[in-house]
């Protein structure tokens, strides 16, 4: 590989965060003084008590990124994959120079545009027109460049009537559309994108995707972070999987996504307990999810076959109920199941006091990969909500004797009967 082919060369990148500074981001003078006086004593005391095994222990630091090396060539579209806290965002922050690495270095060849959060730097009091100029300049565009693209930006955002209205009067959808539109017209040689597409309505999301696809096709380098594996696969040819701040896998996107998804599924049950990205009061928590097919091999779910979802929680509380929702790969909600909505065929107390079982027969999802979010309710309040508690993969199968295969964009089937015109 010639050096001129390379857009990003990262070598041994590492980023250390001090836990203290993560919990309390800023200090008061007094604290800083007290700390500098007290810390040596506290460390000595801990050493004397034998609490600390090594000097590293004393520092209470975590490495969000460690020993990350890779080369990205000009024109490559690379997806960065990993669970929350794996270091994806930290990597993008380093490459976009928002924060410095603690170790290693990266060489960047070309102008970098980073879309880490749309709308940052918008001022609510300013009009749409004014914000386009302000935001463009913050993102590194020249005034002349913004003027040249102004009409295009407004048209893309679909806000022409409101261009001279202060953005504080915009709906959240309009706000996001405008913000994305400015950023999408940045046209850098290297584009870093972090999950911006998780916003806006579906139609606009598709439009954004199209725009990003244009960018990638125009031979620019794109580094893309998302939890949406479907997007990743349509958009990127190469994937980099991060695990605990290290590169776990680097190769064709399909392979990397497979490695990632199977690693998630393997962890499945025992991993739920250690997940910290949950919402809710936390009096009761989801500790296990199991999905199995009731006919044939338990691990292979098929369209049209019965399937059983089993959920375990860690304790009994009054008014315990749960729900789970199924989403497709681009994050569209498909169906939700609630234990609270009772029906005559439901049973109570069949499987112990901490287990919910939901039997679905037949499964009407079309072949594909789906995300399952789980919510646990106690006393009418959300106790625990886990996004992507598990993923399921559905293979093709028969519904009422008809083979249901994968259909682009569609997720569901419904048993049905055709009455055709008479054949000759």
């Amino acid at each position: 590989m010639r050096m001129t082919d390379i857009a990003i060369h990262a070598e041994n990148l590492g980023k250390e965060y001090h836990i203290g500074s993560l919990q309390k981001t800023y200090k008061r003078f007094g604290d800083a003084l007290a700390d500098s006086v007290a810390t040596p004593f506290r460390r000595a005391a801990r050493l004397l008590r034998g609490r600390a095994g090594s000097a590293a222990d004393l520092d209470e630091a975590i490495w969000a990124l460690e020993g990350v090396s890779f080369d990205i060539r000009h024109g490559e579209a690379v997806g960065v994959i990993g669970r929350n806290g794996a270091g994806k965002s930290t990597l993008l922050k380093i490459l976009s120079r928002i924060t410095e690495p603690t170790t290693g270095f990266a060489d960047i060849y070309g102008r970098v545009g980073a879309l880490l959060e749309v709308g940052t730097g918008f001022h609510p009091e300013l009009t749409g027109r004014e914000n386009i100029f302000l935001n463009g300049a913050i993102l590194g565009m020249r005034k002349r460049e913004i003027q040249r693209k102004f009409d295009e930006i407004v048209a893309f955002a679909e806000i022409d009537r409101f261009i001279d209205t202060p953005v504080k009067h915009y709906s959240s959808g309009m706000y996001v559309r405008l913000a994305f539109s400015v950023a999408a017209h940045l046209e850098p040689e290297i584009l870093l994108v972090d999950e911006v597409l998780a916003v806006g309505d579906v139609a606009f999301q598709r439009k954004c995707l199209g725009k990003m696809d244009d960018v990638a096709r125009a031979g620019r380098t794109v580094l893309f972070v998302s939890h949406n594996m479907g997007l990743m696969q349509t958009f990127c040819e190469r994937g980099i999987l991060l695990e605990h701040g290290r590169v776990a896998c680097d190769g064709p996107i399909k392979d990397v996504v497979d490695v990632y998804l199977s690693s998630i599924e393997q962890r499945g049950v025992q991993d739920l307990a250690t997940r910290t990205d949950r919402r809710g009061l936390g009096d009761v928590r989801l500790v296990g999810v199991e999905v199995k097919a009731l006919n044939g091999a338990p691990a292979v779910l098929k369209t049209g076959e019965p399937v059983q979802f089993t959920f375990q929680v860690d304790r009994r509380v009054p008014g315990l109920d749960m729900n789970f929702s199924i989403f497709d790969q681009i994050g569209q909600a498909i169906v939700q199941f609630k234990s609270k909505d009772r029906a005559p065929q439901d049973v109570s107390g069949g499987v112990g006091d901490r287990t919910f079982v939901c039997e679905i027969d037949p499964l009407l999802l079309l072949p594909g990969r789906y995300r399952v979010d789980v919510g646990i309710i106690g006393d009418n309040r959300m106790q625990d909500y886990i996004e992507a508690a598990t993923y399921i993969e559905v293979a093709e199968g028969f519904v009422d004797g008809r083979l249901e295969g994968q259909k682009n964009k569609f997720n569901l089937t419904i048993p049905h009967r055709w009455i055709r015109p008479e054949s000759e």
Partner: protein
């Protein structure tokens, strides 16, 4: 960053910086349009949200002048170098208000835009610098009132007015230097936010605004110039109202002091900025 031919793309090396780092003024220059947009944003927002708008730029120093004239000029009979007290104090309040405004808003500029620091890269120094610069417009408006007062009291400016832009620059350099120090400290220690108004107030009384520096004898008068605002304020009176004290040595001392604050502030800021995004 200039558009470069695709054959030789811009090369940036990202690596941990250690110790004191260069000021990288070239990058600031490359982002010069951003200064313009930040200043423009500050002005638009400031004048759009207030009912009185531009009038505030005049009212604040004017009311202070009225109060000073009543209490210091009339009641305390403070010596005003033989000038009418109102114009004596107003000629000092106009540059002073520019300075204290730049100081206060500059010191809060980083934490006020914390979200941007965390999400977008741009040279961090643009923030305190543009905030300090946006005060120049208020200064201009207040200055017009000052000219009006000079006409009213029948003062014709001396030929020394040519020095005014440099004196204004001296005030700006001082405000900027202090802002760089305080804004960087403010990211790490939020107590700074509470100390800034106090610093501004103490500085007001340490500067000959309500009184004249002619209260002091040499060499103390020149040493007094170590407070750069002393040079600015006495310089304004000298250039506009023709006070007899020629503040030459004092202004030189003030300039040196201001440069020391500015350069040390800039280097300190560059040293601290590497983890702004992590701490703010």
């Amino acid at each position: 960053m200039e558009k470069s031919p695709s054959m030789t793309p811009i090369h940036t090396r990202i690596e941990p910086s250690k110790g004191w780092v260069s000021l990288n003024l070239r990058e600031l220059w490359n982002y010069r349009e951003l200064f313009y947009f930040f200043i423009w944003r500050d002005l638009k927002v400031r004048y759009r949200q207030t009912i009185l708008g531009v009038a505030w730029a005049v009212l604040q120093p004017f009311m202070t002048m009225v109060i000073f004239s009543i209490f210091f000029g009339r009641l305390a009979q403070v010596d005003s170098d033989g000038l009418p007290y109102p114009i004596f104090s107003f000629a000092a309040l106009v540059p002073w208000n520019f300075f204290s405004g730049a100081l206060i808003s500059g010191s809060n500029s980083l934490i006020g835009n914390a979200n941007m620091l965390k999400k977008i890269y741009f040279p961090r120094m643009t923030m305190p610098i543009s905030t300090a610069l946006s005060g120049v417009v208020d200064f201009g408006i207040a200055f017009i009132v000052l000219v009006g007062m000079m006409v009213y009291y029948g003062y014709r400016p001396t030929g020394n007015v040519v020095w005014l832009p440099l004196l204004l620059l001296l005030a700006l350099a001082t405000a900027l230097g202090v802002s760089l120090w305080l804004s960087a400290l403010n990211v790490r220690f939020r107590d700074v936010r509470y100390t800034v108004p106090f610093i501004a107030q103490a500085w007001l009384f340490a500067t000959p605004i309500a009184y004249s520096s002619s209260l002091l004898e040499e060499p103390w008068k020149t040493i007094y110039g170590l407070n750069p605002m002393v040079g600015v304020v006495e310089g304004f009176r000298w250039a506009l109202l023709g006070t007899e004290t020629m503040p030459g040595p004092m202004v030189i001392v003030s300039t040196l002091a201001a440069l020391a604050i500015l350069v040390s502030g800039a280097y300190y800021f560059r040293r601290m900025e590497r983890d702004f995004a992590d701490v703010v």
